[in-house]
């Protein structure tokens, strides 16, 4: 891959800044009713960016981003509520400053990822896939079981204070704006990473691990870093989530959450940071629509069963994964790019042939 | 076999760029050239492993371009692949039998197995013939193919290819990784096979000397194109060939 000239980088940077500013602005202009979904789209985008890098460059699938998300959320939640595990009492004196609690989330998830990732990333992709799946399941079990710490399922972790920065309460529109601001920052950071020297190493790894290793690149270390980065981003998003919901329960983080993130990246594009954001937006929207569709009593004359909402999401996501992986394996956005480039090349060749250059 | 203007590419990289060659029944032809010249790609395209981007391959006048390897085998062309590629965990005899099984395979395993079982008698005869031609294999028949030496594996690979009763045997890098003594023995065997059974041979080789000894004609492939062609005798004298592949023409005193 040729190194990008300076001005493309600048164009991307300003473009992303502008888009980010736009999204932040939109946050303030939306109706109250649309804000929740908008916020959730942003949160998903943060996770998706990290996962997209991992899947696109390290070629590894993490089915546990939902676990890091949950871990981040609970870390922030517990720290900011202040718990004395001995008597299960909410103890505001033990509470941390919300901003610090938020910062703790990505640090913790990153650390966990580092520990888990060291043995796993040296192996082929499916080991990590299952292990991260396992991680999510174990975490769920722990969240349900250790209800002295987490509040379990009932009543859950209640009373999370709102995020306050220097006296300003960050909620609703402001929270959405903050979330999207962080999305923009994550995208910029990711794009920077891809364009940097480390990014070139990552490209090499993505093309062929064997060649990259032969060229002296420490493949395992790069993969680990991407995994930790993805986990950190997911943890950060999780922390923000707890300030959005102000209440936590293990029911909020079912296994399908992890899978949904994978769907977002698969659709939007592995390795394509912008694609990941688009994927996050699209899938969050789809998810909402499916749920809405499923809670209706009837559809097209058929009586819908009680479980319809879940059926729709699970089934539709499954179908999407199959179709996308078969026909657009690099994700929809990149596939469109590749397709247009191929068409352009063929046109060019045809005009060359026509002008007798063959 | 006739090949016309064949083009093979992997994505944007062109491995074979418009190659034409031909081979008559019972001939021994070699394909030499440096590493990466596209010899293996050419062979793989001929044997149906890779679909060519352009050009055609004909066997007995019949266009077989892009057909499956199984179809090519049924038309009488089998390949002894580079690096032997025997099935390591299976005993030698199983390797050989698979050569016969594969020939009648067609679409799916159930009918293939039925056909195989019905022709058991014939296949057993073929097996005995191969053991006669390559007696060393009879000794090794129950040993896992992965536990045999390089030379023995090459014999297994050739035997496996012969189980399909080919009229043309395509061999990719006969001498790779083998001791000269072993290569010599194999070489003699192939000459005898060609003389007695009339099996044509298409040999892809880096070792040009071996190629000229074994084959009557040769093509020189460089960067995906035929650079030279002719009889082994002619090419053996050719200066360029000597310089590149035979270590320089000795100046006559």
């Amino acid at each position: 891959m040729p190194t990008r000239p300076r001005w493309t980088w600048l164009a991307r940077f300003t473009g992303t800044l502008a888009a980010g500013a736009l999204m932040v602005y939109v946050a303030f202009r939306l109706d109250e009713g649309d804000l929740p979904m908008y916020t959730r789209m942003g949160l998903a985008a943060i996770v998706a960016v990290g996962l997209s890098l991992l899947m696109g460059f390290a070629g590894q699938i993490s089915l546990g981003q939902g676990a890091f998300y949950a871990l981040g959320a609970y870390t922030t939640g517990i720290l900011s509520v202040g718990l004395r595990p001995a008597d299960r009492l909410v103890n505001p004196e033990a509470a941390w400053d919300p901003l610090v609690a938020l910062a703790a989330a990505p640090i913790l998830t990153g650390a966990v990822a580092a520990v888990v990732g060291v043995p796993l990333l040296r192996l082929r992709g499916h080991y990590l896939a299952f292990a991260t799946l396992a991680l999510h399941l174990i975490l769920l079990a722990a969240l349900f079981a250790e209800d002295r710490f987490t509040g379990g399922q009932d009543p859950g972790l209640v009373g999370i204070p709102q995020l306050e920065v220097r006296g300003h309460v960050i909620e609703h529109a402001r929270l959405a704006a903050v979330v999207w601001g962080i999305v923009a920052l994550s995208v910029i950071m990711a794009v920077n990473l891809v364009g940097s020297r480390a990014g070139r190493a990552l490209q090499a790894i993505a093309t062929s691990e064997a060649t990259a290793a032969a060229a002296g690149i420490n493949v395992a270390m790069y993969k680990l870093r991407l995994f930790v980065l993805a986990a950190g981003l997911a943890g950060l998003a999780g922390g923000l989530f707890s300030y959005y919901l102000l209440f936590l329960s293990p029911d909020a983080f079912p296994l399908i959450t992890s899978i949904t993130f994978v769907v977002m990246v698969a659709v939007g594009g592995m390795g394509s940071v912008y694609g990941a954001v688009v994927g996050a937006i699209a899938i969050t929207y789809l998810e909402d629509k499916l749920r809405e569709l499923g809670t209706r009593e009837q559809l097209l004359g058929f009586d819908l069963p009680v479980q319809a909402p879940q059926v729709f999401s699970i089934g539709v996501f499954g179908a999407i994964l199959i179709v996308v992986m078969l026909f657009a394996p690099r994700g929809l956005l990149p596939s469109v790019q590749i397709a247009t480039r191929a068409v352009a090349r063929r046109l060019r060749r045809r005009t060359q042939a026509a002008s007798g250059a063959a | 076999m006739e090949v016309d203007d064949l083009v093979v590419q992997y994505g944007p990289a062109v491995a074979v760029d418009g190659v034409s060659l031909e081979l008559a029944a019972g001939e021994r032809v070699a394909l030499i050239g440096p590493n990466g010249a596209g010899k293996s790609s050419l062979l793989n395209a001929l044997c149906g492993l890779v679909k060519p981007a352009a050009g055609s391959v004909r066997i007995d006048g019949r266009n077989v371009t892009g057909q499956s390897p199984g179809a090519i085998v049924r038309l009488g062309v089998t390949q002894v692949p580079e690096g032997r590629q025997v099935f390591p965990t299976l005993p030698v005899e199983a390797n050989l039998l698979l050569g016969a099984y594969g020939r009648d395979f067609r679409r799916e395993p159930v009918s293939a197995t039925i056909r195989y079982v019905r022709r058991r008698g014939q296949i057993q005869q073929r097996l005995d013939r191969v053991y006669t031609l390559l007696p060393a294999l009879r000794e090794l028949r129950n040993r896992p193919a992965g536990q045999t030496s390089g030379g023995e594996q090459q014999m297994v690979a050739i035997g496996r290819a012969l189980m399909a009763e080919p009229r043309l045997l395509a061999i990719d890098e006969l001498s790779l990784g083998l001791a000269p003594v072993v290569v010599q023995a194999l070489s003699e065997f192939l000459l005898k096979l060609n003389a007695d059974e009339g099996v044509a041979i298409l040999l892809v080789e880096q070792n040009a000397l071996l190629a000229f000894e074994l084959c009557e004609r040769a093509y020189v492939l460089e960067a995906g194109r035929i650079a030279l062609e002719g009889t082994s005798a002619e090419l053996g004298e050719n200066e360029r060939v000597h310089a590149a592949y035979l270590g320089g023409l000795e100046v006559e005193a």
Partner: protein, 303 residues
Amino acid sequence: MTLPQLVLAVAEADVRTLLQTLVVGLSTGSAFALVGISFVLIFRTTGIINFAQGAFAVMGGLFTVGLVDDLPTWLAATIAVVVVGLIGAVFGFIAMGFRGRTTSLASLIITLGIALLVSSLELLAFGDRPHNYPGISESSWTVWDVVINPQYALVAGVTILAALLLTLLLRKTIVGNALVACADQVRAAELVGINVRSVTMIAFAVSAALSALGWVLLTPVTSVNYDSDVAIAVNGFAAAAFGGLVSIRLAYLGGLLLGIAEQLVVVYGDRVTDQARQYELAAALIVILLLIGWRSRHEVEPA
């Protein structure tokens, strides 16, 4: 829960409970072993890890549930296993994707998608309650003061037979040999004329049938639900990982060990924490992680 604590807890228990736990563990382990073998079979032949393996198992159980009202149990079970085998072949075809275009990682995601799709259809057809059906016998055996449900014996026995039969088929029949050939050297197998795609479909069919068999036999003592497939898949993968994803024998052993370990955690774990049942799965998973960590120090897998 630390190892010394576990050992202590085990030592304190009476032998009866221990034996009982072992029996249950062996039979759940047998079912896991079958799933693990299925993983190995598909992985060796195609390099694909089939996420939907758990879904095959669950399909077996649920189909039997659906048929058992109208047919004798053994017939329902047999039909279910065969049908799942056929469905497995179809899914395998889909998962293999387009030759050259579909990477093995993409195939993994496709199998994940298949598992999700199957899960949702099962939910639609069977609802979200766990299902069950009667097993081989209502009464239990009493051996050495230990009460054993004969179903457990059935599972373990059939499983061993199935595994042996599979190994035999692979080694002695020509089709089995062809399968192994495709697993070891796919290019050479193609060159010889074997249609690798169709052979891999057989691998998928056999795998699906095996997983279904294990679970069909186990359901009477466990129950089956539309979302059981994740736990089954993870356990099966752990068993397969024990064999490095390539050894059938080790996968079988791994499955048994896993089953026993899980049961030990469930039965004795509540000395340590009263939520032990929740950690049943955690036991499996810690085992995988440990195994993998240990393995990666001794091997470097090719990319």
